[in-house]
Symmetry: C2
Subunit: 132 residues, 2 copies
Amino acid sequence: MLRPKFDAAGLVTCVATDAGNGDVLMVAHMNDEALRKTIETGDAWYYSRSRKALWRKGESSGHVQRVVEMRMDCDQDAIWIRVEQQGGAACHTGRRSCFYRAITRGDDGAAKVSFVDAGQVFDPGQVYRQGS
Amino acid sequence: MLRPKFDAAGLVTCVATDAGNGDVLMVAHMNDEALRKTIETGDAWYYSRSRKALWRKGESSGHVQRVVEMRMDCDQDAIWIRVEQQGGAACHTGRRSCFYRAITRGDDGAAKVSFVDAGQVFDPGQVYRQGS
């Protein structure tokens, strides 16, 4: 039985990974409607906490996520979807994945951040110019 | 610069994937201390919302997660760690991954949940019997 445990804001966490190579593309949230629409349509739908709105991934950019597999975790408060990312980029910054910065421990013991796989697949200025 | 954007509860979301095959093992949370300890020690530390406590993964079970790579997302509110999972299982139910249930669309259009890769690597009754 699917019994998602939504948090106080009515959301579950959703992790989208690249069905091809397993990389984590993004972490976002789904409300009940986003979850149902994702199951029904096979495209990833999310709930934007900043815009307070249901959101079909790619509705502005065309960079739709086709869901290859969908999983629920033990606590039913997190979803994992393996997706085929249209347009090759999931991140609003134009990068393939939102996780384009590595955290390492510097020689002085402090955390160090460096760019990895941070090339832009698209120019956000171009893609989002038209609005949605 | 590492500038994590902690939520109202002081947490960021952390996704742990298997460094070997890319599968998502678990989704959990880190507070500032868990994040710092993870960077310092190379083992995954989390913050348990239910127990309201800092928690080194594997401290009870021995199923420590060695961090191979750590990434931060565009908004700096989510962390992705690629880990070597000691003991072969990340889930407290004894399964390799917490995501051992698939969600599909049944013939009647309703969501259907089925077990996948749900074999138990360990018996939680045995492993957690001793307490921490």
